[in-house]
């Protein structure tokens, strides 16, 4: 009984330490961790968070410590007299002190925070910045590069912005249907995608690589499978990628039969393949489908077998996705898959 307060504290401390250990152990390089910032806004937020943790942590140690001391020192002992302890009703001075001190802490915290709000949100847009429009859909991402005339889905390519070449990416975000939220923790905080409402955010990743994220605003049955991949390319890689994406869809005569099936089925109502009859905008642009590593917004790897199964029965991977099962025959499935496999 008497050990209650100490045990409580020890347990709290151990739990926190263990979780921290676990957190650092499991934060692998491709984990979308906010603790491994790789872009200016994410860095600024991380640095701010360290200050906030230092202040709140100190408050916790002081107040929690006082509480623990009170519980330990003033526990009932066998030697206590049977009378009640002295009754103390309050003290204006002390109460004033613990009103004013928190107020001062709030002022400090607020000013520190306000600086970062304005630094990130009102950062000027340099001329060299890349613009990308992000449109959220149930349950996938549409990326449009207006300057280059490129449209792609689910896997965003942006240039690295390091050292001498500062080329941050500015996103304009909106939604085609319900609310979504664009969140790649290592690059920046999240911003919501809302229909009839254009938001913006920016990031300037300093190291090339793959950065993972996903939709962070519940958007319906397959919200969990609205994954997000951001490829940060070196300037040369990015130029190569953009040039490739600007090409019209390859025309491979070997896949002509598949193309015919594609163009005569309802596929074209929702999908675009440039240079063909397919101009739908409800689903992802497929012009360079094979340049993407995953299908269905990261629900599975982009392999021929997965692609065929996805066309045959989208529910296998993503029950609730808006793509219907097209009821194609096995032969049609093979042909369409073969055709899509040519869209490099």
């Amino acid at each position: 009984m008497q050990m209650v307060p100490t045990r409580h504290l020890v347990r709290l401390g151990t739990a926190a330490a263990l979780s921290l250990l676990a957190a650092s152990n499991f934060a692998q390089s491709d984990s979308p961790s906010t603790l491994a910032p790789a872009s200016t806004p994410a860095h600024q937020i991380f640095d701010l968070s360290v200050v906030v943790v230092a202040i709140t942590g100190t408050i916790f140690l002081i107040v929690g410590g006082l509480l623990a001391i009170a519980l330990y020192r003033f526990r009932t002992r066998k030697s206590d007299p049977v009378t009640e302890p002295a009754q103390i009703y309050g003290s204006t001075q002390i109460e004033l002190a613990w009103t004013v001190i928190p107020l001062l802490i709030v002022v400090v915290l607020f000013l520190t925070t306000a600086r970062v709000i304005f630094a990130i949100q009102d950062a000027p847009r340099p001329k060299s910045a890349l613009d990308v429009t992000v449109i959220g859909h149930q349950f996938w991402w549409e990326f449009r590069y207006p300057k280059y005339g490129v449209v792609t889905a689910n896997e965003l390519h942006i240039p690295v912005s390091s050292g001498s070449v500062s080329e941050p990416t500015f996103l304009k975000l909106t939604s085609a249907d319900v609310n979504h939220s664009f969140w790649v923790p290592r690059l920046a905080g999240k911003t919501d995608l809302i229909a009839n409402h254009v938001n913006s955010m920016w990031m300037d990743p300093q190291k090339p690589g793959l950065y993972l994220g996903q939709c962070a605003q519940f958007c319906g049955s397959q919200h969990a499978m609205m994954l997000l991949r951001v490829y940060v390319d070196s300037p040369e890689q990015f130029d190569r990628w953009i040039t490739a994406q600007q090409q019209p869809a390859p025309q491979d005569p070997a896949a002509a039969e598949g193309k015919r099936v594609f163009e005569t089925q309802a596929c074209i109502n929702c999908h675009t393949v440039s240079g063909t009859a397919a101009t739908g905008r409800f689903g992802p642009d497929l012009t360079h489908l094979m340049s993407r590593v995953t299908l269905a917004s990261g629900a599975m790897d982009n392999t021929p077998a997965n692609l065929r199964q996805w066309i045959k029965s989208p529910d296998t991977f993503k029950n609730g996705a808006l793509m219907p099962a097209m009821q194609l025959s096995d032969r049609q499935l093979d042909e369409v898959t073969a055709y899509l496999e040519t869209l490099k």
Partner: protein
């Protein structure tokens, strides 16, 4: 002043109780038609305990599904229904009814009244709330209309438009959600009005506002706040139904409506709602902590002032739920500041509780253990709240498991802990029997350990980038182990709650006989018999201080000599 004495004898005619209990049906009928505030209080408590078990079971299914990646125990749709129902149930059918149950039972007793101001409105409000809950759960059967089975709401308890529009949420599940909240919302408003009227007009002789027990004070504040917060929610639900059935375009983005309008309406309700739930937890702690450390509450006027301050400040912080919707930097800064300011009156409360403990003789009974757990956890919850108020950091943490961890620290770590404390504390008053202390301590330690395993870990999942509301996750994200830990903690909490349920039921027959005043407490409810007779007090008491029973027990050193 010396001519009064307490406790007052409560039972006019003790002979009638046992012999005239009637058949089971007669007694059931009595409970259904009752307008007695104590019976309605008990009905509220039983009703919310039942839903606590239901929503707890839903939480366990959620954790089972998330224990490992790519799990197929629940489908995406079923998972979405479960987390929607878990949240909606816990807020509207567990939190609110628990608070009104305590208010109903305790407030009239504490202010020396015979009943609430409007007993019939009281019964009407309870049954509205109860049928609201049943309507919500009926959606599991009737949500798909005539077409099929099983379709509970799956839009999240926040139900952001336009996901709730007919085109994205066909069927009737969302309608059940809106209607159930409208119906139970009217019940809530009725009870809130009733509590305000009762506290204002039914206090016994000598009980000025500044002599009211803090529990009653806080319930008065909560009830006034409820009147302001439930109304925008009800209005928004009507707008939603107009959109869905009468061709309205409030939230219909395809026709120029705005999702943000819903989000504003929801959080103008939703944030003060947090205080509606947490202030009663403070209220319970305000009763339990002084009694079990044998000292008067430290700084009573400051505690009252801080509660009223929280009420007002809480009305100006709602958009801290909206830092990511694209507000201007000035708005973000404003809501950062207003949110941080809530920390000041809340801090005063925590300091005053510590000062109350300081110099006391602390008895670690089960109710007190739960309140001590509350103090530690609420301290942490407040500090993580400060972290979330830092809007740039919130751009990272918003809608992540960090937020889930933070608000469960408030809702479970503070509110549920205090509810459990309050149940152990007032159970002997309502039943005449004490709950088992041994089982109670097992319950406390298991629940506290499970709680910390689950919710401490969730903070780190949030920092590692795991968003909320996802039915499964990818195995390569570094979240696997921590999720398993969270689920194990959930299971431990589940076992603890079952232990509590067993104790709660069995103690009714087997619990030690309590007597009128088992805790040696100081407020008026302990002056009458346990359980109190229907009329509460034979003679309405007259009080001269905040602790009338202290005065009666210490006639040589009464409180009124010191209170200003």
């Amino acid at each position: 002043m010396s001519d009064y004495s307490l406790p007052v004898s409560a039972v006019i005619d003790p002979g009638t109780a046992a012999s005239e209990r009637g058949t089971f049906l007669e007694r059931l009928h009595e409970w259904v038609v009752t307008v007695d505030h104590k019976r309605l209080g008990i009905l509220y408590i039983l009703y919310s305990t039942l839903f606590l078990l239901v929503a707890g079971a839903e939480a366990l299914f959620i954790r089972l599904q998330l224990a490992y990646p790519h799990s197929h125990i629940l489908s995406a749709r079923v998972f979405n229904r479960f987390f929607t129902m878990h949240g909606t149930t816990m807020v509207f059918l567990v939190g609110m009814p628990f608070l009104f149950g305590f208010a109903n039972y305790i407030v009239p007793l504490q202010i020396g009244a015979r009943d609430m101001a409007f007993p019939r409105l009281n019964a009407f409000s309870f049954w509205l709330t109860a049928f609201g809950g049943l309507l919500l759960y009926y959606s599991f059967l009737g949500g798909a209309g005539l077409y099929g089975m099983g379709n509970a709401p799956d839009v999240g308890w926040f139900a952001y438009a336009p996901l709730t529009a007919k085109s994205f949420s066909p069927g009737h599940a969302t309608d059940y959600w809106a209607l159930a909240l409208i119906v139970s919302g009217f019940g809530t408003l009725g009870t809130a009005i009733n509590i305000v009227a009762t506290v204002i007009s039914m206090r016994c002789k000598g009980m000025t506002l500044m002599r009211m027990p803090l529990f009653t004070w806080l319930l008065l504040v909560v009830s006034m706040l409820t009147l302001v917060t439930i109304t925008p929610l009800t209005a928004a639900q009507f707008m939603l139904l107009i959109d869905r059935y009468l061709g309205g375009h409030f939230f219909d983005t395809q026709a120029g409506g705005s999702s943000l309008v819903w989000i504003h309406f929801f959080w103008i309700f939703g944030h003060p709602e947090v205080y509606v739930l947490v202030l009663p937890a403070f209220a319970i702690a305000n009763e339990i902590i002084p009694v079990f450390c044998r000292k008067a509450i430290f700084g009573y006027p400051a505690m009252v002032a801080a509660s009223v301050a929280i009420m007002f400040v809480s009305l100006s912080v709602w958009a801290h739920h909206m830092f990511t919707v694209g507000m201007t930097s000035v708005s973000n800064a404003f809501f950062t500041l207003s949110t941080m300011l809530v920390g000041v009156p809340t801090g005063i409360k925590i300091f005053n509780w510590i000062a109350t403990l300081w110099g006391g003789r602390i008895r670690f009974t089960t109710p007190m253990l739960f309140c001590i757990g509350f103090l530690f956890q609420f301290l942490i919850a407040g500090l993580t709240g400060i972290m979330l108020s830092v809007s740039p950091w919130d751009w990272q943490l918003h809608n992540s498991y960090f937020v889930i961890a933070h608000f469960h620290y408030v809702l479970v770590g503070a509110i549920v802990f205090c509810i459990f404390g309050g149940l152990y504390y007032w159970y002997p008053k309502a039943t005449g029997h004490l709950m088992s202390e041994t089982l109670g301590k097992w319950h406390f330690w298991l629940f506290a350990i499970g709680f910390h395993i689950t919710f401490d870990t969730m903070h780190f999942l949030g920092l590692l980038g795991m968003p909320r509301s996802i039915y499964t996750y990818q195995p390569d994200r570094g979240w696997n182990f921590l999720n398993l830990v969270v689920s194990v903690g959930g299971l431990i909490q589940g076992i603890a709650v079952l232990l509590f349920a067993y104790n709660f039921i069995v103690s009714y027959w087997r619990g030690e006989v309590a007597g009128d005043d088992p805790w040696d407490a100081w407020t008026l409810e302990w002056a009458t018999s346990s359980p109190p007779p229907p009329y509460n007090f034979e003679v309405l008491p007259e009080v001269h201080s905040r602790r009338p029973l202290w005065d009666a027990k210490h006639p040589d050193d009464p409180d009124w000599e010191y209170e200003s």
